[in-house]
């Protein structure tokens, strides 16, 4: 018997829990050369901004042990070109599209949410809170609960009621549970974590930073323990909130680890750079692992690692009932 892999982001049902991580799947066309985008649980776009953005200078990427540092700087064509060329293409192929948005001010986030509210084909809106707040000396919104909540609340207000708003959190905070709670209080229907922690690498041959931007976001298996910790803490504090877990997932085992920590969906990011078939492969591996452990449903495994030591492994956390 096949395990039931359906999962829910608030009330939106996804056929399977494997998503692309924002900024790692291009426009969808690049991945479609290898596997169908509609087979994904959902396709998460790179962060869309109001105006076109050229991004950061090169070099934008440096390889680190089991990790990747990047400073792309949200290069993209802007929301109008996205709505004209990219979203319709995804809709045509039957992909469920989670649109990630990024901005420098609360107003910009709100304007993006309003613009997205006018079009069809948006399954959910993901708020990339790791953007520098130009009104607060460039400190990222995700650093502080109040700033994050303000963005989430205004996006929630501008988004149709049937489109969930997902807040994407950064691990570079003193207390991720506080930020998560502030976002949920601000109206976030789901949480996504983790965005890349900031890292740096110096080229000892040129004796200069390896990235033109100096610092960059660290991703890949190197950050997976960090992701597991964040998902664990937030799920423990807010067990009813759906969590999209991500951070260094390259195999089905990694995905299951995040599911056991409390994620009801798992995004694959940097692994796509290494293996363009990573999403269908991780899904297949996850399904096999669930079956091997006797699960009929993915929902039964969500957060299971939180059960007390010695308890039966088959406690039933019924997400299908709790979320509606």
């Amino acid at each position: 018997m096949m395990a039931d892999l359906r999962t829910y982001l608030a009330h939106v049902e996804l056929p399977n829990p494997i998503l692309t991580a924002s900024g790692c799947g291009g426009t969808g066309r690049e991945l479609a050369q290898f596997s169908d985008v509609h087979r994904l649980g959902a396709f998460v776009t790179r962060s869309i901004t109001m105006a076109p953005r050229a991004g950061r200078p090169t070099p934008r990427m440096a390889e680190t042990p089991s990790g990747l540092l990047n400073a792309v700087g949200l290069q993209g064509p802007g929301v109008e070109a996205f709505l004209e060329r990219e979203l319709p293409w995804l809709a045509e192929r039957g992909a469920r599209t989670v649109v990630s948005i990024g901005g420098g001010t609360v107003t910009e986030y709100t304007a993006l949410a309003r613009r997205l509210a006018e079009v069809s084909g948006v399954t959910a809106v993901e708020v990339n809170l790791s953007c520098p707040n130009v009104e607060d000396r460039g400190r990222v919104f995700a650093r502080e609960g109040s700033a994050a909540a303000e963005v989430v609340a205004s996006v929630r207000a501008a988004t149709p009621y049937d489109v969930p708003v997902i807040a994407k959190l950064s691990p570079d905070v003193a207390d991720i549970v506080a930020v998560a709670r502030a976002c949920v209080d601000g109206g976030a229907d789901a949480l996504a974590m983790i965005n890349t922690p900031v890292g740096m690498s110096i080229d000892v041959d040129t004796m200069r930073p390896a990235l033109a931007a100096g610092t960059g976001g660290l991703s890949g298996p190197a950050v997976r323990p960090l992701a597991v910790r964040c998902v664990w803490q937030v799920h423990a504090a807010l067990p009813g909130v759906p969590i999209v877990g991500m951070g260094g997932v390259t195999t089905g085992r990694d995905a299951l680890e995040l599911v056991l920590a409390g994620a009801c969906a798992v995004a694959v990011g940097t692994a796509l750079f290494h293996d363009p078939y990573a999403c269908p492969r991780v899904l297949r591996e996850l399904e096999e692992l669930l079956q091997a452990r006797g699960f009929d449903r993915l929902a039964d495994a969500v957060g299971l690692a939180h059960r007390p030591a010695g308890a039966q492994p088959r406690t039933r956390t019924d997400l299908e009932e709790s979320s509606l």
Binding site: E30, A51, P57, R60, S66, A271, F273, H274, D275
Partner: protein
């Protein structure tokens, strides 16, 4: 975008040293079938559970029909990834994705082409030379490197080309100097109609300047650091002027690697030009 790249776990058929470089022949029928000159492939390095997450991109030196189709890669050891590749033995397997990128555009009618290669960049020129000669084009080679052991494919170029000019910076082979020093003479002697070039950015910039002086088109295949090779990671961007006159940061992997030389803003590589689409504070922002 390339037609339809595939992922292949290929078996290594031969390994050899070519002066300062290594060459690997890998059985990869799906890639060999779809290959056009200018395409590249990416390989995963380090085996299963590798700690090296980015794929390494290489131009394809040669495609042969044996064993259903093989591709040959030429590379120099520059880091842990290429060192791992150099240690591969016959019958080991290698994870390849390809063919990737846009291939070289070929002229419709027979004409005279100068093919310029710097260091192992010249590996990409021989498949191109074959394709051009099949269309009745005259092919002249200019190959260069810092020293004789790093000039790749001189023998094959001599057999294939109408003329072959070699340059080394230390004078150990051919003329002393760089490829751009001898290129004007070669273009003038051959009355070349078009230039194709592969190599480091600095060489491509020089070649483009020479071609511009002669007023002939130049196609360059750029080398920029890539993580994925398929167009999703956005790290290999170069500033390129579009048909509409607007500079965009284009991906060397998916929008290139072959560009018209005069369209690439070589002086601005490694920066975001202020007038690029979406540049901070720029006019399109």
């Amino acid at each position: 975008m390339a037609g339809s790249p595939v992922q292949v776990t290929g078996t290594v058929l031969t390994t050899r040293r070519v002066d300062a470089y290594h060459a690997l022949t890998v059985v990869a029928p799906g890639i060999a079938d779809r290959f056009r000159p200018g395409h590249f492939v990416t390989v995963a390095v380090g085996g299963r559970n590798t700690s090296m997450l980015t794929r390494r991109a290489f131009t394809v030196h040669d495609v042969k029909p044996d064993y259903g189709g093989t591709v040959e890669l030429v590379f120099g050891v520059r880091g842990a990834g290429t060192a791992w590749l150099a240690d591969l033995r016959v019958r080991d397997t290698l994870d390849l994705v390809g063919p990737l990128g846009r291939p070289f555009p070929l002229p419709r009618d027979p004409c005279t082409c100068v093919l310029v290669g710097d260091e192992h960049g010249s590996a990409a020129l021989f498949a191109l030379g074959d394709a051009l000669q099949q269309r009745g084009c005259r092919v002249d080679f200019v190959l260069g490197a810092p020293s004789a052991d790093r000039v790749f494919g001189a023998l094959r170029a001599r057999r294939m080309g109408e003329t072959t000019t070699l340059t080394t910076e230390d004078g150990s082979l051919g003329m002393r100097g760089r490829v751009t020093d001898v290129l004007p003479g070669v273009i003038a002697d051959a009355r070349a109609d078009v230039v194709y070039a592969c190599g480091p950015m600095e060489t491509l910039r020089g070649v483009t300047a020479v071609a511009a002086e002669f007023g002939i088109p130049v196609q360059v295949a750029v080398e920029e650091r890539m993580a994925c090779g398929i167009g999703v990671c956005m790290t290999c961007v170069v500033p390129v002027i579009g048909d509409d006159g607007v500079t965009r940061m284009l991906r060397a992997c998916a929008d290139g690697p072959v560009f018209r030389g005069e369209r690439v803003r070589f002086d601005d590589v490694g920066t975001i030009p202020f007038d690029a689409l979406g540049a901070p504070g720029g006019r399109h922002a």
